[in-house]
């Protein structure tokens, strides 16, 4: 039996999963953290507390990662993996829908961040690095959200994503200036060169994780292509950031 066409089913799944993600309690917890960061900036100004905007939205990303992970693991929790595998729509289409649905929290982030950035730019002097660092935040969100899906596909345990979120929280701003910490997804950048190169780095991570998510249980041309392009972007931009 041939699988049904992905078109209309995919669109419906994207809408359904997007709504679930945007209303997920863990994503909303991240929104609260980001709102806290914005409130601190509004209370104390950009020069004193501009960094709290970045920190708030950056900390929102691990919560989104756990939310996408929990949503992807719904089948495992409800013991409906086999039932859904019996549907005419292939697994890759459902995973693709989840990966596309990541755009829902990302677009909400872009809207919120855009409003805060526009307000900050109208009242304070934001330099080039500030703008580039703020522009990297939606990419951090997509990269970690795709990682949440990939983790659920490869390691279907509700423990792994929260454990990784804890590691991101404690390791990113560490006092130890090890080179590898620069490559942590939540890390910021101090100069224009590093801030520019972090954009393709984060895009590469997103493609790599999306490819990894699609490659389970069956590798397809799309998954291999995504993973290869992502790996190339990550390697080149990481080398540029580190040197």
């Amino acid at each position: 039996m041939r699988a049904v066409s992905a078109g209309p089913g995919l669109a419906q799944l994207v809408l359904l999963e997007g709504r679930r993600l945007a209303l997920h309690p863990l994503f909303l917890a991240g929104v609260v953290v980001a709102a806290g960061g914005c409130a601190a900036f509004l209370a104390r100004g950009w020069s004193t507390s501009g960094w709290t905007v970045y920190a708030g939205f950056a900390l929102m990303a691990p919560f989104t990662m756990v939310a996408t992970n929990v949503v992807t693991l719904r089948d495992h929790r409800a013991d409906t993996v086999e039932q859904h595998e019996a549907l005419p729509m292939p697994v890759s289409t459902r995973v693709g829908a989840l990966l596309t649905a990541i755009l829902a929290p990302t677009l909400l982030t872009v809207a919120g961040l855009g409003a805060v950035t526009a307000y900050a730019a109208s009242r304070f002097a934001l330099d080039e690095v500030d703008l580039l660092v703020l522009a990297s935040l939606p990419l951090i969100m997509t990269a970690l959200a795709a990682l949440g899906v990939a983790l659920a596909r490869w390691m279907p345990s509700a423990f792994v994503a929260p454990a990784l979120a804890v590691a991101f929280y404690f390791w990113t701003p560490g006092d130890d200036p090890s080179a590898w910490r620069v490559l942590m997804p939540l890390n910021s950048a101090d100069d224009t060169g590093a801030a520019v190169m972090r954009l393709p780095y984060l895009l590469g991570l997103t493609l790599l994780f999306a490819g990894a998510a699609l490659a389970q249980p069956q590798r397809s041309r799309t998954s291999v292509l995504l993973a290869l392009v992502g790996a190339a972007l990550v390697t080149l931009s990481a080398a540029a950031v580190l040197t």
């Binding site: 609260v32 953290v33 806290g36 601190a40 691990p62 919560f63 929990v70 509700a158 423990f159 454990a163």
Partner: protein, 206 residues
């Protein structure tokens, strides 16, 4: 002993074991670096792993059995608490803290995070069924700690860094967090069949 063996067999211990293994690895790798970060991550991993021990897919089947919910879950929680205490001591001895104050603060933090995880896990299990505790507890405790770190140091209820008052203040706050979590757990483990009306007014006649 038989009861312990059966409880162990039916308990979802894989997340705790994974958390303990990662914590041990971190403590060994970072044995020459700063002490706090690996032990803090270890505390979170052990606590989040312990949150899964209240998950019981057979809870509905076992609900009418003579063994009460408190007894069934109490054994699981006691096992997780003992194992976490042992792991915390091992991790602290590997990391070699600067003094008794820092060691006490890290152990109190582990106890606090464990208590909070168990409390949240118990509440989630009570409200949404005994399959959701572990899913909710880890992220919920992380959120509370992050929210706490946004407060001024003197108001931080769950400090992961310095606060006024030093080590004793840190130990006290985490001990209170642990107590709060355990109270929540105890409340969520009360007998589901025992309603307030039944307990006060209804007495079965022989």
């Amino acid at each position: 002993m038989t009861r312990w063996r059966y409880t162990w067999r039916a308990t979802h211990v894989a997340p705790w074991l994974l958390g303990a293994a990662i914590s041990l690895l971190l403590a060994l790798v970072h044995s020459h670096g700063p002490v706090a970060a690996p032990l803090q991550i270890g505390a979170f991993l052990l606590g989040a792993g312990a949150g899964f021990v209240t998950d019981d897919p057979a809870a509905e089947t076992l609900a009418p059995s003579p063994t009460t919910l408190r007894a069934r879950q109490g054994l699981r929680v006691a096992g997780a608490a003992l194992a976490t205490a042992l792991a915390a001591v091992v991790l602290a001895s590997l990391a070699r803290p600067s003094g008794i104050g820092e060691a006490g603060a890290l152990v109190a933090m582990t106890a606090g995070i464990l208590g909070l995880n168990l409390g949240v896990s118990g509440v989630a299990g009570r409200r949404r069924g005994w399959r959701h505790g572990g899913l909710v507890s880890g992220p919920a405790v992380l959120f509370v700690v992050i929210a706490s770190s946004a407060l001024p140091p003197q108001w931080r209820l769950l400090p992961t860094g310095d606060i006024p008052g030093g080590w004793p203040a840190i130990c006290t706050r985490w001990a209170l967090a642990s107590l709060l979590g355990l109270l929540l757990l105890a409340y969520s483990l009360r007998d589901p069949a025992r309603s307030a009306v039944n307990a006060r007014w209804w007495r079965p006649t022989a």
